[in-house]
């Protein structure tokens, strides 16, 4: 039997295993990096609206009240004690700060303007994003479960505040595979002054095979760890090496009949292809100056702008799930200058990504989502004299999406006059997850994995499609 047939049989066997239920296929399933899987059908439950997701994760909790959720009532109530009915029985982070006295409401110092056909509100911090108002769906009043960064980030990614569950990118690539033949299916990019709280747990595969975990890429240097051949090893020598390994492994395959060896041979071939495609991927020399300027990208730097451009290049090449983390949104002390700084880093590239995807015809089959792990309180927080910030708020934050299958140019959900709670139906993080999966053609209730005797899913026992969002 030739190698191709062996690999094919291996693949078939894998499908057979899946149909046979738990336990049989775990090792076999783990055999291929999600990036190398033929588009799996395990999670394809209906026609998809999109092929790829770019999740722009604003780590730290951006203030919806300074950006998108305009609350003129807060101006009247500025510096006045919060009426009890809004905070009674609620738990907040940094309880000790609040326990001393009734917290005071804080009006936003930003100027707000409406943009787009729907009259979506934007503050003066996001002038670029306001220009794509008709290409995004704004969602207000989203709530989450936990008011601490690490657990809340885990929750957004894995549907659990505890570590150990698979992240959404892992579920997606486990469910429907990847279109790219030479890049991993779930790529993680990072910018900002530090890594996101929680680190690798945020893109872990949990109990799913490790082949589905997110692969961190860097926008400078080697995009993937160990992607470059060792110093002094020429491309020809590397090719010779991989050929020799393949030939010797084929002999071992003949001798033992262990099909895992066939998989290993194909993984080495994929590794070699990645070595070639990786440097090409991050070579911005192919981009026009106009495009670089649109994003504000500067080749070679680990910036959010570069990562947005890289994200476009990744989905262009068929990568299924790209997640960008940008840190430093945790504005307890001061909601003015530090927030201005981080929005300046994020505003233009975010808008550029949406525009660029659109003009290349990619936006229809991509979902861009911009969100933090939670938002910030309508009350102010004073940690240092003369400065004012906002605390974590989990009951009503704002996020927006752009792309295929959704009503772009629409606003979904509203919050009360101060922005404490949603006034319509609650939109939960589980709903956001269910909606993302739905757009990819996955029924969130059917994509399950049996672990420790139970069928787990991303959305646990919750989740529904966000009402009024889908087109």
């Amino acid at each position: 039997m030739d190698l191709e047939n062996k690999i094919l049989r291996h693949t078939t066997r894998r499908h057979f295993f899946e149909n046979c239920g738990f336990g049989l296929g775990k090792a076999a399933l783990a055999s291929l990096l999600a990036g190398n899987l033929p588009a799996a059908t395990r999670g394809k439950h209906h026609a998809s609206k999109i092929d790829s997701v770019i999740f722009l994760f604003m780590a730290g909790g951006p203030s919806q009240l300074e950006l998108f959720d305009y609350k003129p009532q807060l101006v009247k109530w500025d510096a006045k004690p919060t009426p009890e009915e809004f905070i009674k029985g609620k738990r907040f982070a940094f309880m000790d700060t609040f326990n001393k006295e009734t917290p005071k409401l804080l009006a936003s110092r930003r100027e707000f303007k409406q943009a787009g056909n729907s009259g979506m509100w934007f503050s003066d911090l996001v002038p670029h994003i306001s220009t794509v108002a008709d290409d995004i769906a704004m969602i207000h009043g989203v709530c989450t479960e936990n008011f601490n960064h690490g657990p809340a980030k885990l929750f957004t990614n894995t549907g659990s505040v505890r570590t150990g569950r698979p992240s959404i990118g892992s579920w997606v690539t486990y469910g429907i595979g990847n279109e790219s033949k030479d890049l991993p299916g779930f790529v993680v990019l990072q910018s900002g002054p530090r890594g996101p709280r929680g680190g690798a747990a945020l893109w872990a595969s949990g109990f799913l095979p490790t082949a589905y975990q997110g692969v961190p890429f860097r926008s400078g240097g080697d995009p993937i760890l160990d992607l470059s051949s060792p110093k002094g090893v020429t491309p020809e020598a590397q090719r010779r090496t991989i050929e020799a390994i393949a030939d010797l492994n084929k002999m071992e395959l003949q001798a033992t009949g262990d099909e895992e060896i066939a998989t290993r041979i194909s993984q080495y071939e994929m590794a070699y292809r990645m070595q070639t495609s990786g440097p090409e991927l991050i070579d911005f020399g192919q981009e026009s100056k106009e495009t670089l300027d649109l994003y504000g990208a500067e080749p070679g730097k680990a910036t959010y702008a570069n990562n947005c451009l890289l994200a476009r290049r990744l989905v262009e090449r068929g990568v299924r799930f790209v997640q960008l983390y940008h840190t430093d949104w945790d504005h307890h002390d001061d909601i003015t200058k530090p927030l201005e700084r981080v929005t300046k880093e994020v505003d233009q590239p975010t808008a550029a990504l949406i525009k660029d995807l659109k003009r290349r015809g990619l936006l229809d089959r991509t979902l861009v989502i911009w969100s933090g792990e939670f938002g910030r309180t309508p009350m102010g927080e004073v940690r240092e004299k003369g400065k004012i910030g906002r605390n974590h708020h989990i009951d009503a934050f704002s996020l927006f999406m752009a792309g295929g299958g959704i009503k772009n140019g629409h606003v979904v959900g509203t919050t009360d006059e101060f922005g404490f709670s949603p006034t319509e139906e609650k939109i939960e993080v589980f709903d956001v997850q269910a909606t993302i999966l739905h757009l990819l053609g996955i029924d969130h209730k059917q994509l399950t994995y049996r672990f420790q005797g139970r069928d787990f899913r991303l959305t646990d026992v919750s989740g529904r499609l966000i009402p009024g969002l889908l087109s």
Partner: protein, 768 residues
């Protein structure tokens, strides 16, 4: 226990007459049976409530006691009168005279018949809860048989009409048993000694040598660290370093000393409660301090303490009981006979550990510690600790008084300078995170829906009713009682679960393939009699681990060849009957260790602080708090993978990529994935390139100076066998091409290249 006293006390208030008993038997019992017991009995614990014994109904369900003698407001009365939200029986209403019977019964002080007093124990026919038996090995005569284990295996194979495989050749066998027992491949000298040993017990001599090796403890410890979710840092947000390597070394030493598994368990779960515990027994309790801990600003410490305790229950369930106890945290277990109340009864055993549960104690984060040193060192450290706390307080006060810009204030600058200087003067002392109970026990209660802020009924520590009862004089029973209960010989789970997991290490999967789920949703054992035979053998040997390992590796089934058997695969495609050994990719650590042995770089130093081998550039950039990764100098650069510093939020890629667990929850079995990222590491990582260089030099130094001889030597160093002619020819072709491509003759570069090929062979990273 406590309940017995209550019943006695109640008895003194409400004397029970024969008429009362008759009233119960004729009126109350039939009423309960007809209207309540369908949903509320020990085998159907809706709402956690059983109404089939006095003990159970007094204890009550998740909402608290169902009835209290003389209390006309008892919950059961409220429910049957439809007074509140709770209306019972479901979907109907009792007739007024029936309600009156219950009212009368409670007014009389709940008189019951003798057989209704004590709580019923839950019954199940599920195999795993039945007592462990000692089946006689099936009679069989076959030259292949090396141990009673084989009689069981052979009987199943014979049923399927499959012949076992012959014994593997000596090289394969020694490589296999070395990698399995000590996690390291044999040296060529060890291999030669075995191949030349003509004595009939040559193999047994090797097994005994390996069991006596100090590396045995390292190998077995690594499996145990997986179960314990061991890491060198806290996890979650800050992910700071923690003091836990003492525990890791305790595990290595315990395995090497062949500590009986019952003692091994009891010291780890409750060493602190043993009489006059030694330092070692305290360090052992670090097992359950391996839970991730959150030190992020703005957290509710109680929430994360509760998380850790729940994790301890779930981990204890996975490791010793093979039960998914965690499923019963929010509601009764959907499949297994474990109620939510029982989850919190086990939770209660672990709930008194003295850990930080409020913001005011933030500075004591990760306490309690055992401080190890001379009395003077310990005193100096305590003094230093107090000085730091005092100075920090002084700075806080100063800041609060301060008017103006804090950054410009000279006084503050000076104080901060003092603090930094003081911190640098930290007296050297070793610390170990341990478990110790607090002076005042906590209240234990059911967390409704798994939410610790929603208090349900109070509970006391106890074990699941479906298991043998816990026997103790202590009231309430404590963690030590629980640990002893786990290790009591009538516990049907502990020995089976342990034997199954150890068997899995040798064959890739256990008799029960769902090694962490022996419940009704788990797989049935492929060889139930052998599992029981080994389990009873394990207990009868005094929980002797080395005896168990030796029993398995001496068997004929273990020693078989691993080559595919198309004839057997037709009848047994997954090789469940074990007509051959399984080829298994090595674990992350064993791949590194094997490369270190082949390249002659391995440091065989055992224990001590974790080490920092080279880390690919950028691999640590994903964490919130940047941690320094300074490559360890000298031999510490070449320590076994077990000792690589494990940072939870950015674990070393060479470990994680090869499926080392991420240390979040107990890992009872590692996945064996096969990905291109693994290829990139072995091909390109600086560490592996260095191993290749060293292996290349070694080949040049040790082999006769011909290409064939060098290939033969290098091949043997990584696979422990001689290359076949076709293999030699292919590698020689590669060597020639490498030489031709060079402008200057550089043998070292050529043989580094050849060594890279060798270290990427499937056979190198596989245990045949």
């Amino acid at each position: 226990m406590r309940l017995a006293c209550l019943i006695l006390a109640a008895g003194s208030l409400f004397a029970q007459s024969a008429a009362d008993t008759e009233f119960f038997d004729k009126q109350v019992r039939p009423l309960l049976r007809a209207n309540c017991n369908g949903c509320h009995s020990v085998n159907s614990l809706n709402g956690g409530l059983a109404l089939d014994s006095l003990e159970a109904l007094r204890k009550g369900g998740n909402r608290g006691p169902a009835a209290t003698p003389g209390d006309n407001n008892s919950l059961i009365l409220q429910a049957v009168r439809h007074e509140g939200a709770l209306k019972m029986p479901l979907g109907k209403k009792l007739a007024p005279e029936q309600v009156a019977v219950l009212e009368q019964w409670i007014a009389k002080g709940l008189p019951v018949a003798q057989d209704f007093k004590a709580a019923k124990r839950r019954q199940t026919r599920h195999w795993a809860f039945q007592p462990v038996t000692r089946p006689a090995p099936p009679a069989a005569a076959h030259p292949w048989i090396k141990s009673p284990v084989d009689n069981f295996i052979l009987a199943k194979l014979a049923e399927a009409k499959i012949q076992p495989s012959p014994e593997a050749n000596r090289a394969t066998l020694l490589r296999r048993v070395s990698l399995d027992l000590i996690g390291l491949p044999p040296t060529l000298e060890e291999l030669a000694a075995f191949e030349n040993d003509k004595s009939p017990n040559a193999y047994e001599k090797q097994v005994d040598r390996l069991l006596a090796s100090p590396h045995y403890g390292e190998r077995q410890a690594r499996f145990w660290l997986d179960l314990a979710r061991y890491a060198d840092t806290d996890g979650y947000t800050i992910d700071a370093p923690r003091d836990i390597v003492q525990w890791r070394d305790w595990v290595i030493n315990a395995y090497n000393a062949n500590m009986p598994y019952d003692r091994f368990t009891i010291e780890q779960l409750a060493g602190d409660l043993l009489p006059n515990p030694t330092n070692d027994q305290l360090i052992a309790t670090g097992f359950h301090r391996n839970t991730p801990s959150n030190f992020e600003g703005g957290i509710d410490f109680e929430q994360y303490r509760v998380e850790a305790v729940a994790d301890r229950v779930a981990t204890t369930g996975s490791v010793w009981m093979g039960l998914t106890l965690g499923c019963a945290r929010c509601h009764d277990h959907k499949y297994d006979p474990i109620s939510q109340r029982e989850f919190y009864q086990i939770f209660a055993f672990f709930n008194n550990a003295d850990e930080v549960d409020r913001e005011a104690d933030r500075k004591y984060f990760n306490k309690p510690f055992l401080e190890i040193g001379t009395p003077e060192q310990i005193a100096a450290h305590q003094k230093w600790d107090e000085d730091v706390v005092a100075l920090e307080g002084k700075i806080r006060n100063y800041q609060e008084q301060l008017v103006g810009n804090a950054d410009m204030d000279e006084g503050l600058k000076k104080l901060r300078g003092e603090l930094n200087a003081l911190r640098r003067r930290k007296p050297k002392i070793q610390r170990a995170m341990i478990v110790r109970d607090r002076a005042t026990p906590r209240d234990h209660y059911i967390h409704l829906g798994g939410d610790f802020t929603r208090k349900g009924a109070s509970v006391q520590p106890d074990t699941p009713s479906v298991m043998p009862a816990l026997k103790t004089q202590n009231n309430p029973p404590n963690r030590l009682d629980f640990a002893r209960w786990l290790m009591s010989k009538d516990n049907p789970l502990t020995a089976r679960v342990t034997v199954n997991r150890i068997w899995q290490h040798y064959f890739g999967k256990g008799f029960v393939e769902t090694e962490n789920d022996f419940g009704v949703m788990g797989d049935k054992p492929t060889h139930p009699e052998l599992l029981d035979w080994l389990s009873s053998e394990f207990m009868d040997s005094g929980w002797n681990l080395k005896h168990l390992h030796k029993t398995i590796v001496m068997s004929g089934v273990y020693r078989q060849d691993s080559a595919n058997r198309p004839d057997a695969a037709a009848a047994d495609p997954y090789n469940k009957l074990l007509a051959r050994q399984n080829r298994l990719r090595l674990e992350a650590e064993a791949i590194r260790d094997s490369a270190l042995v082949a390249s002659n770089l391995l440091s065989r130093k055992i224990g001590g602080p974790s080490v920092f081998p080279p880390l690919p550039a950028g691999a640590g950039d994903v964490t919130q708090v940047k941690r320094e990764w300074k490559v360890s100098p000298g031999e510490d650069k070449y320590r076994r993978g077990l000792y690589t510093y494990f940072q939870r939020s950015a674990a070393h890629p060479a470990l994680i990529t090869f499926d080392a667990p991420d240390a979040t929850v107990a890992c009872t079995r590692r996945v064996r994935s096969n990905t291109p990222l693994q290829a990139l590491i072995l091909l390109n990582d600086d560490a592996y390139f260095e191993f290749a260089q060293s292996l290349g030099k070694r080949i040049l130094a040790e082999a006769p100076p011909t290409t064939e001889a060098r290939i033969a030597h290098g091949w043997k160093l990584v696979t422990h066998r001689a290359p076949k002619p076709a293999e030699t020819a292919r590698l020689a072709r590669f060597v020639d091409a490498q030489s031709d491509a060079q402008t200057e003759k550089n043998e070292e570069a050529v043989w580094t290249a050849a060594a890279r090929v060798l270290l990427n062979l499937d056979e190198f990273m596989t245990r045949e």
